[in-house]
Amino acid sequence: MARSVHRRRVLAAATACAAIAASLTACTTGGGSGGSSSSQTLTIAEWTNPTAITFTQQVDAAFEKAHPGVTIKLEQAPTANNAWPTLQNSLLAAKSVDLLAQFPPNPEAYPPANTGLKPSGTAALIANGQFVNLANQPFMSRFDPTSQQFAMGYNGGVYGVMVAEYVNTTGMYYKKDILAKYGLSVPKTLTEFVEDMATLKSHGVTPIFVAGKDGYQNIAWAGIINQLMMQDKPAAAVDEVYKARAEAFWSGTQNWNSPLYQQAAQNYAKIMNYIEPSASGVPAATAATQWAVQSENYPFLIDGSWDGNTIAQTAPSLNFGFMAIPGTDDASWNRAALAPDLSWAIPTFSKHQSLAEEYLDFFTSPAEYAQWVAATGSLSTEPAVPTAKAGWTDWLTANAAQGYMNQTQPWTPTGAPTAAGGPTLTAVQPFGSQSMTDALDQSATAYSKALGH
């Protein structure tokens, strides 16, 4: 009996040793740095932008081919209905992602200590050391360091590589043939823009289309604020301007009903007079394609430059262009605000950091990156790679260099009412019943209360 027990113990110990040895072997195989004999799975997560996803899949296939034994698993979810944040948060919580697409924060996402506010979202992850500092990676030398620092920089490090940049706020498409049909030129000032729209309306044409259900009218509102704030200041002054605004809001010397926002509200209302009446029910997912197929109506679409290629694919014969909204009466102020977009970040918990860095080196190599820029319609963030030219990018090609980084929101405490971040445009005329003046006053009161002023 005793011998039998002993034999069973020996057998159990041997089995355990074998299991440990097997798992160690598996770990060694899985944790290698990408040699041809290793078998590794690199998990990448990216929000669903059809052209970007298609291109990423092509890069993944090319990378797998160049790295035998490496398999890439691409996770994706649309940005609508919180699907993307939900996927991202679950991947982070499970520590099961090696390369994660991020909407970059910016310098104002890290409020100074005296505000008592904590960074949130991506900024919180960076500030708490959850992403690898890529500043010294060789591939970072391909990029403009200032814009990379603005997008993913923190305390001297750069915690992601920004590979896409679009004109977001201030963005507008126009149908060249409709303007030509009514003898109109592309407007350069707000007055010209309003006159054009009045002419078009008198001919039974509804001038503007927008994805109002998803709040894309904010592109016009925030764009006008951008243009009024930046005026003709150099692009390099942008951080200083936004920081001064954030501090002015925080100290109570500026608020949503200050003169600049009153002026912005007047300009915004002039544009909104010509909007499609039912636009507040149009979702972003279909707005660009719906606009594209109606070649005789809606000469203008308020939308970001990321939809340019989608429009071109939907209606290949449509003769359209892209420009910054002429939100003010000074043509030199009506520049485009550039929004840093998809930035790749490597979580510090990733077991395949070296491989992820190799992937980024591969992805950002000029040959691959030029294709990425062409596929997505993004502005190039690599100085050596020119922004791809398409039929609709003529204005962009000529004027993007005069653009500046998109504005940031004033600092607001957690739990502050939505109104504290500015008017709720879906509730404001013409989509809602509230006047813009009342909405600004409401926002000013909400912001003051949130800060205890």
Partner: protein, 299 residues
């Protein structure tokens, strides 16, 4: 002589304990622990993102929620109460009406009952997408019908006037079949001789309904009202798909989900909202249950 179902000897002692251990552990891990964590998180500024600090802040989230008349919190409570009230009234009324029409075992009635119940088996996402397409102001059939009849445009789910009523109606469309079935079960339990006695006493249809059917349906009404209201107090999925909480449709459930798991998540603030939702459900659900059960006893 009764046999012990757990055998004899040692097995008799440990099998009952093992049987309750599994669900108990499940409840501790998936019920009690998350509930206690939610209570604790509601006193922190925790983002919920890995590696970020908990930042205990006492009652800061509760103070933020009650800080002013423009608070999203009070607006969300108001929307939730309107939503739950609207759904409850319409769904109970419609469910009862349909039950009265279709309670009998006649040819074809089974098919009607099945058709009315069918939306219940669709997922919320399917229903949401279906109605988003129907109500699309550019390409949807509803807009074409509206324009043809009234000659004006309507953005439906993008309208601050129409969005909440439409969400209420879509919810009612989905779940009226269930309410109807509960009422049919209740109606079939009312003895026929009570109706015969009422008929002999000369009671008309309305008098019979008011004095016999409605009072004797009290238990079914309790079940329907309680389940409908409690379900609506936690509603977020249908709102998420239909309007993304815009145009005056942000319920407390949606607000909580968005705050805790949105683009810039704040699990601390979201947990406070979950506590508020729990309190609201306890007050309204508990109050309704108490009132409706008292009505049953009184009858």
């Amino acid at each position: 002589m009764n046999q012990c179902p757990f055998g004899t000897g040692r097995t008799r002692r440990w099998i009952p304990w093992a049987s309750i251990a599994v669900p108990t552990i499940g409840w501790l891990v998936f019920g009690l622990y998350p509930s206690l964590a939610t209570i604790y998180y509601s006193f922190t500024q925790y983002s919920g993102l890995p590696g970020t600090p908990l930042d205990f802040c006492g009652l800061c989230n509760y103070r933020n929620a009650f800080q002013g008349s423009y608070s999203d919190f009070s607006a969300a409570i108001e929307t939730t109460v309107k939503y739950a009230g609207g759904v409850a009234v319409l769904q109970i009324g419609l469910g009862l009406g349909l039950a009265l029409l279709l309670k009998n075992r006649r040819r074809g009635f089974g098919l009607y009952r099945a058709l009315i119940f069918m939306p219940q088996i669709f997922s919320v996402t399917v229903v949401g997408i279906l109605f988003s397409m129907i109500l699309d102001p550019q390409a949807g059939p509803a807009e074409k019908g509206w324009t043809a009849v009234l000659g004006s445009a309507n953005s439906f789910l993008g309208s601050s006037t129409w969005a909440l009523p439409l969400c209420i109606l879509i919810n009612v469309w989905m779940f009226t079949g269930y309410t109807m079935l509960v009422y049919i079960a209740g109606l079939r339990r009312i003895p026929q001789d009570v109706y015969e006695a009422a008929s002999l006493d000369g009671a008309g249809r309305w008098r019979t309904f008011r004095s016999i059917t409605w009072p004797l349906l009290a238990p079914a009404t309790t079940v329907n009202v309680f389940l409908t209201v409690v379900g609506c107090l936690g509603e977020y999925a249908l709102i998420l798909v239909l309007t993304d909480g815009q145009f005056g449709t942000q319920t407390i459930g949606f607000y909580m989900f968005n705050a805790a798991f949105g683009q810039n998540p704040s699990l601390g603030y979201g947990s406070m909202l979950a506590m508020a939702q729990f309190a609201l459900t306890l007050m309204l659900g508990g109050g309704l249950l108490w009132g409706l059960r008292r009505r049953e006893v009184a009858l």
